[in-house]
Symmetry: none
C-alpha cells in the first residue's frame, strides 16, 4: 500500500501489534527426508498459533528476487523495497549502529593492497583481521579536512565506513574502486556537477590516507564505494500513527528500524532478553518489531539441524510473548534462508497473523506445506503491515 | 519484473533453462465427463514431472484478458505484454518470417472489392484463395516509389503485408480502411506531422495499385492498416545475460523470438524434430524456448479428443528433453485454448517448474485441478522468467 494512503487511513486505537521476525525463516526440503526445517522441527506452540491464525506466505520483494536484510525488513515495516532503497554507504553505517545525521555522507571502504607502481594487487588486502583493520581506521581517523568532520569506523576484516560530516556535502561522488586487479585506485569524481566540491575533499582525504598507510604490507591503500546520505523517508510512527519500538540486538536491524523512525530499545542477544524487554516496555508502545537472528545464522551456515534447534528454541520461549495477548501477532521472516542453500533465497516466507478478527483456514501446523492451505496465499510482504493495521482496528474505512 | 531490475540482478552461470510451451495448453471440463483435456489425457511422464516441480498457473496478461500469440509469448519471455506491444503490421510481417529492418515500415493489407463508383462492396474480396492473392501480390510488388524499396508479401487468403524500406520513413500514417461497406477506401493521412512524407508515398502506391488491379472481379483494390515499425526493445540475451535460442517451426513464434533477440534455430514441424534440434544445440545456448503448436490447433478446432492426443504425444516424447536434465525446466502454455470454446481464452495456464532448488508441493499430476494445490498459485506469466533465473542461480541478491 502506498504510504500516502496509509496516512489517510491510519487512526488511533489502544490495540497492540507485534511483528516477530525469525530471520531467514523459510526453508527447503532436506534431500534425504524431503522435509523442510519447519516441517521437521518440534514446534507445538507455533503449530497451535497457526491453527488460530490466518496463514500464508510473504513475497519479500518480487518473484525470483533474493532480498538482502534491508529490503526484507523494510517490506515488513510497510515500505516498498523497490521504492525505498538504501545506499551502500548508509547500509554499512547502519550495520554498525553509527548514528548518521541527515546531512552526513557515508561511503563503504575497503583496505586494499597496491604495488610500487600504485596498481591494485589485492582489493581486500588479504582480508586482514578486524583488529588490524581497526588500528588502521584509528590512524585514518586523524586525517583532517577543512570544515568537515570525518569518522572512520571499522566494520569487519578489510571493511570500514567513512563518514563526512559538515555543511553542503553531496553524495554525488563516484566509486574509487576500479573493481579489477592491476588498475590503480581511481580518484573521486563527481557523478553530477553538485558533487564536485565533495569529490575534492574526498581526494584530499585519499591522498593523506595513502601517505599514512604507505608502510603497510597489506592494506596500504583504500577503495571507497557507495557514497550515500541517509534517506529522508516518511516516519513509520507518523505514517501509521502509532508508537513503534524495535527489539533487536544486532546493529543492522536496529539501524534499519531507526531509519524508519522506530525507537530501538536496548536488548541482550538472547530470545529471553528480547521477551523481557518486550514485557518491560509493553505499555510504552503500540507496535513492536521483535527480531530473532539465529534461524538465519544457522541457515547461512548450511546447518539444517541447528536451524531446527533454533526453531524449537523459539517455540520454547514464545509463550512469554503470546501471554501478553497482543491484538495482532504476526510471525514470519524477512526472507528464506534454506539450510540446503546456505544463503538467502527468493522463496516465499511462512507467515501467520493471529487476531480476534482473522479469517480462519485449515493449516494444522506452521510449515511450508501446511501453509499452502492458508487463507492469505502468497502476498507481497509490504502488505503485511496494512493487514495488521486493519486487524488491529487502526484503519478507517476507505471511501463512503 | 521491470527489465532494468532484471539487468541489475542478472549474473552469469553455466546453468541451463528450458521453457517448453504447449501452445494453448489450458482447457475446460468436457460437458459430459466434467474432465479437462489434461485431466483426461494419458500423461504419466508429465505427471511425474509435476510431482517433482513447483506448480501453479500463469496469468498471461491479466484477469479476464484473452491473449493473442504475441502477448502470450512475450510474457513468458519476461516482457510485460501491456508495455511491450507490437504494431499490427509488424506482427503480420513477423508471422511470415519477413526479416524486418529497424527502419522499415510495415502495414497489414487486405484485398477488397469496390464497385464502379469506388465504394467498397466486400472488405475481404470474398476471401480469395491464397494462390490468387499471391499472384496479385506479385503484380503489386512491381510498383516503384522514389527512393523507397517496397515488398508485397502474401499471408493467407485476402491478407498480405506491405513493407516500405528506405531512409526517413515514418509509421505515423492512419489506416486506409474505413471499416464499413459502401464507403470508399480512404487516402493515407499522417496521424502526426512527421508522417506526412510517408503518407504521400503510400498514396502514390495506392493509386498505382488501383490501376493494376482494376480488371479484377474480386480484389480490385486494397486496404491498409496498422502501419508500424519494428519495436526497439531491450534484447533478451543482453538483459538476462544469457545465450537464448528459439526452437519453433511456425514463423509467428520464430518471429516473436527474434523480436526479443533470440536466435531462431532451423527446425522441422514435429516434436521429435524440436527435441533433436534441442539436443544438437545443447552446448551452444543457456536458454531454450521450445514451441509445440498442435495443442492449440486442436483446441482451436474444438477437437477435445485430438487435444488429448496431442498431450499424449508430448508425454510420449518429453523424455528426449528431460534426459538432458536442464537446471530449470518450465512446462506451460502461452494461453488456454479450451476445446469446448474452440478458441483462445483468458483462463490461467497450467505451469510447472522443476529445479533442484524448487519448493515442493502436493500436486499428484499435471492438470487444472491438481495444480490448484501448487505452491506457486496463480502468478503473472511475465514473472516466470525471473523465477527461472532465480532457480538457475542467475540472479544476484537484491540489496544487502
Amino acid at each position: 500500500m502506498d504510504l500516502d494512503l496509509v496516512r489517510q487511513l491510519a487512526q488511533e486505537s489502544d490495540t497492540k501489534i507485534v511483528l516477530f521476525v525469525m530471520d531467514g525463516l523459510g526453508g527447503l526440503p532436506h534431500p534425504e527426508t524431503g522435509r523442510t526445517e519447519l516441517e521437521a522441527a518440534w514446534t507445538p506452540r507455533l503449530d497451535n498459533i497457526a491453527r488460530d491464525s490466518s496463514c500464508g506466505f510473504t513475497m519479500p520483494v518480487g518473484y525470483g528476487i533474493t532480498p538482502g536484510s534491508g529490503p526484507g525488513h523494510l517490506a515488513l515495516f510497510g515500505y516498498d523495497p523497490l521504492v525505498y532503497t538504501i545506499g551502500r554507504g548508509v547500509l554499512e553505517a547502519t550495520g554498525i549502529d553509527f548514528d548518521l545525521q541527515p546531512s552526513d555522507v557515508a561511503a563503504r571502504g575497503n583496505f586494499c593492497t597496491i604495488d610500487a607502481a600504485g596498481k591494485i594487487t589485492d582489493r581486500r588486502a588479504g582480508r586482514i583481521a578486524t583488529e588490524q583493520s581497526a588500528q588502521l581506521c584509528a590512524r585514518l581517523a586523524k586525517i583532517e579536512l577543512p570544515g568537515v568532520q570525518t569518522f572512520v569506523e571499522p566494520v569487519r576484516e578489510h571493511r570500514f565506513v567513512l563518514v563526512l560530516r559538515g555543511e553542503g556535502l553531496s553524495d554525488q561522488v563516484k566509486d574509487t574502486d576500479p573493481e579489477k586487479l592491476g588498475a590503480a585506485p581511481l580518484s573521486a569524481e563527481p557523478s553530477v556537477e553538485t558533487g564536485a566540491a565533495t569529490a575534492v575533499l574526498v581526494n584530499r582525504w585519499l591522498e593523506q590516507a595513502r601517505e599514512m598507510l604507505a608502510g603497510e604490507e597489506q592494506g596500504n591503500m583504500v577503495l571507497l564505494r557507495g557514497f550515500a546520505r541517509r534517506p529522508s523517508w516518511p516516519s513509520m510512527p507518523e505514517t501509521f500513527n502509532l508508537r513503534a519500538a524495535a527489539i533487536a540486538h544486532y546493529p543492522m536491524y536496529r539501524g534499519l528500524a531507526k531509519l524508519v523512525g522506530m525507537e530501538a530499545l536496548t536488548v541482550g542477544p538472547k530470545l529471553e532478553d528480547s521477551i523481557a524487554t518486550l514485557r518491560e516496555n509493553w505499555n510504552r508502545f503500540d507496535y513492536f518489531f521483535v527480531h530473532y537472528k539465529y534461524t538465519d545464522t544457522a541457515g547461512e551456515d548450511g546447518d539444517y539441524d541447528r536451524k531446527m534447534e533454533t526453531l524449537r528454541e523459539v517455540d520454547d520461549g514464545i509463550e512469554g510473548l503470546t501471554d501478553l495477548n497482543p491484538d495482532v501477532l504476526m510471525i514470519t521472516g524477512d526472507h528464506s534462508t534454506p539450510a540446503t542453500m546456505a544463503g538467502h533465497s527468493w522463496h516465499p516466507v511462512p507467515f501467520m497473523l493471529r487476531s480476534r478478527w482473522g479469517r480462519s483456514d485449515e493449516c494444522e501446523s506452521f510449515n511450508e506445506v501446511q501453509l499452502l492451505k492458508g487463507s492469505l496465499g502468497t502476498f507481497p510482504a509490504k502488505e503485511a503491515m496494512p493487514l495488521a493495521m486493519a486487524h488491529a482496528g487502526r484503519f478507517r474505512k476507505y471511501g463512503a
